[in-house]
């Protein structure tokens, strides 16, 4: 299986500079990860763990105060690995939408409110493709695309505010996939939708993946959504990935103490057994503890955890974890 996305020692910080001081929020703190082709990845973690920042960074959307401080982001483009941090703006612009696509957080307002939906589609398509024949190059493929996704044609003539929240979200997803991108980065696409619309969005994402055979990285805090859609899961905590495994494996055999708390405390219908939360609170990304970021809350904490940061290593087949209970490998301090 090929890796479509590879990051190496990726560091992406929010840097706030006032005349009196400088503050660094280490939202993505030394992340090396491989993303395989043709799969739905779920990135889970709680608010402020850096999961949205990770997505923005690999999407090339880092804008001050967010800055890529170090590391590389490789995408597999036409059989070759391209480091997008080294590309010029124009070179990278050409990759967008045809190769990398993005569904933003709270994308209720992702569409320009004063132009019709069709106009938005046209803006996005013309940015990447020359339209010679309006009918053949634009109208027809657009109709086919909406048909395949089961969206009614009348949305094209509407303004965004005339559509319901769920419909707007599905239109945004259709817009993100119109050019058949190889990788789709989706940031909380189901949050703030009512339950039926949420289910429709999940169904739509699954359909697109099986239709276009692309890779989806889906960021959400909702473990139930992950359970339903993700093939493989990444657990993020305090700016790093602490565990990676196939979804079933992760829910059944979580290895990292944080993941254990996360999975163990999920309430389920028909199960009244006592659930316990992790003690304490997650650290501030501006003020991370030394060593493993989870050690102040970890019931199994050892001396090494307080000084060294564990690396994400494969301890079981296709199950990676970053915890000294499982592997002694550490991240070299630089």
């Amino acid at each position: 299986m090929l890796n479509i996305l590879k990051t190496e020692n990726l560091k992406s910080y929010y840097i706030f500079e006032t005349p009196t001081e400088k503050k660094e929020v280490k939202a993505v703190n030394d992340v090396s990860i491989d993303i395989e082709e043709d799969k739905i990845y779920g990135v889970a973690g709680e608010s402020g763990c850096g999961k949205s920042t990770f997505l923005k960074t690999v999407c090339g959307l880092a804008e001050p105060p967010l800055r890529i401080v170090g590391g590389t982001i490789y995408y597999l483009v036409n059989g070759k690995y391209v480091d997008i941090t080294k590309l010029s703006q124009e070179e990278y612009r050409k990759l967008r939408w045809e190769y990398i696509s993005y569904i933003p957080q709270g994308s209720m307002s992702a569409l320009n409110p004063i132009i019709r939906v069709k106009e938005s589609f046209k803006d996005f398509v013309t940015a990447h493709k020359k339209i010679k024949d309006e009918q053949k190059d634009f109208e027809e493929p657009l109709r086919k695309h909406l048909n395949a996704l089961g969206l009614p044609m009348r949305v094209l003539k509407s303004y965004p505010h005339q559509l319901s929240g769920g419909m707007r979200q599905r239109v945004t997803i259709a817009l993100a996939t119109i050019l058949n991108p190889r990788i789709i980065l989706a940031d909380e696409p189901t949050t703030a939708l009512d339950v039926v619309a949420q289910r429709a969005v999940i169904q739509l994402l699954k359909d697109i993946q099986s239709l276009q055979k692309n890779t989806i990285i889906l960021v959400t805090h909702d473990m139930a959504v992950h359970a339903n859609i993700a093939d493989r899961m990444l657990i993020m905590y305090a700016g790093v990935f602490v565990e990676e495994a196939d979804t079933e494996e992760l829910f059944e055999n979580p290895l990292h103490p944080y993941t254990k708390f996360l999975i163990g405390s999920l309430p389920k219908m028909g199960d009244k057994s006592y659930k316990v939360s992790a003690p304490g609170s997650p650290p501030s990304l501006a003020n991370l503890p030394q060593g493993c970021p989870f050690h102040p809350r970890c019931p199994y904490v050892m001396d090494i955890c307080k000084n060294e940061r564990p690396a994400l290593v494969e301890t079981k087949p296709s199950h990676k974890v970053s915890c000294f209970l499982n592997s002694k490998e550490r991240i070299q301090n630089d």
């Binding site: 169904q203 359970a227 829910f251 405390s265 389920k268 997650p282």
Partner: protein, 320 residues
């Protein structure tokens, strides 16, 4: 029928009509209609529903932050609308306290958090010697030294929600109204808040009205549950029965549509997605009639009354 001495709070035909806009732009919205329920001593009662179903409006009316358009709220048999004087209102608030959805908004970001705790203690006529603040914080697993002199943005959401509960406990209330208390708390801390409600019920004999959209925590924590839809309670009864064996078509759909945190229970069947009717509020009859698979002619014109079926209340003509 329950013994009335056991009842803490009861609503009768509670209704709220919002007037949107002013002058010529005026239009009416029935947010809550004919809502009847009660919360007993020593129980956790859940009002569940999707956003916009009116559950938060109900909680505001219970607390007196909104005036009902119709209907009444009774606390221990007395009509709350008759509490006119500040002293009487304070007496009611001493018994019924509340916590809110967004812990970061519960406290003024420009004020120190502990000032709310000491204000509560002072305003309800307790002296510092009573150590009510310290005791309440202890009950939620915090220490005064962690809280003193600090501003809201120095805490995590989970910590703030605990402090918020502590503040509510200072008056030693009989009822705690919790409006979406965990929806903005991180997953790994969520259950510690929910567990706290159980402890309050069991050890301090505080009843909790838990308002949520999350059926899984509702199942975990509550004794009874009422499901709200478009302003009405459409099914109400024992949580085990309502959630494990729902009778109302809406409750069935709701339970079916909420994803479960279990990869072995992925949805397999496809749903056909009809556009939601935005005008559902305006419907004359059953508000679910537009989407209901079992819809009958009379559903469209007549609002079903509160019917009894299998030890619960259901508002559906199927159970007539």
């Amino acid at each position: 029928m329950t013994n009335s001495t056991e009842e803490l709070i009861r609503t009768e035909k509670l209704q709220k009509i919002f007037v949107v806009g002013g002058g010529f732009a005026r239009s009416k919205l029935v947010a809550v209609d004919d809502v009847n329920f009660h919360v007993k001593k020593n129980e956790i009662f859940t009002l569940a529903g999707e956003s916009g179903c009116g559950k938060s409006t109900v909680s505001k009316m219970l607390l007196g932050f909104l005036e009902p358009s119709e209907g009444n709220v009774y606390y221990k048999g007395k009509d709350v609308a008759n509490l006119k004087k500040w002293k009487e209102k304070k007496g009611f608030m001493k018994e019924v306290q509340s916590i809110f959805q967004n812990p970061f908004e519960t406290f003024n970001p420009l004020r120190k958090v502990d000032s709310y705790l000491y204000d509560t203690q002072k305003h309800y006529g307790m002296s510092k010697k009573d150590k009510m603040v310290e005791e309440a914080l202890e009950a939620v697993g915090l220490d005064i030294s962690e809280v003193k002199g600090r501003y809201p943005n120095e805490f995590s959401g989970g910590q703030l929600q605990r402090i918020s509960i502590a503040r509510a406990l200072i008056t030693r209330p009989s009822l705690l109204i919790a409006d979406e208390p965990v929806s903005m708390v991180d997953a790994s801390l969520r259950m510690s808040i929910v567990n706290l409600f159980k402890e309050l019920r069991d050890n301090r004999h505080v009843s909790v009205l838990y308002i949520t959209h999350d059926l899984a925590t509702a199942y975990y924590v509550s004794d009874r549950i009422g499901i709200m839809f478009r302003g009405n309670i459409i099914e109400m009864g024992d949580v085990e029965q309502v959630l494990m064996n729902p009778k109302h078509p809406y409750t069935q759909m709701l339970k079916e549509s909420i994803p479960e945190a279990d990869p072995n229970k992925k949805w397999t069947e496809r749903i056909s997605i009809k556009e939601l009717e935005t005008e559902e509020y305006m419907r004359k009859g059953c508000k679910f009639a537009g989407r209901c698979p079992y819809v009958m002619d009379k559903c469209k014109d007549n609002m079903p009354p509160e019917l009894q079926a299998e030890n619960r209340m259901v508002r559906c003509w199927l159970y007539e």
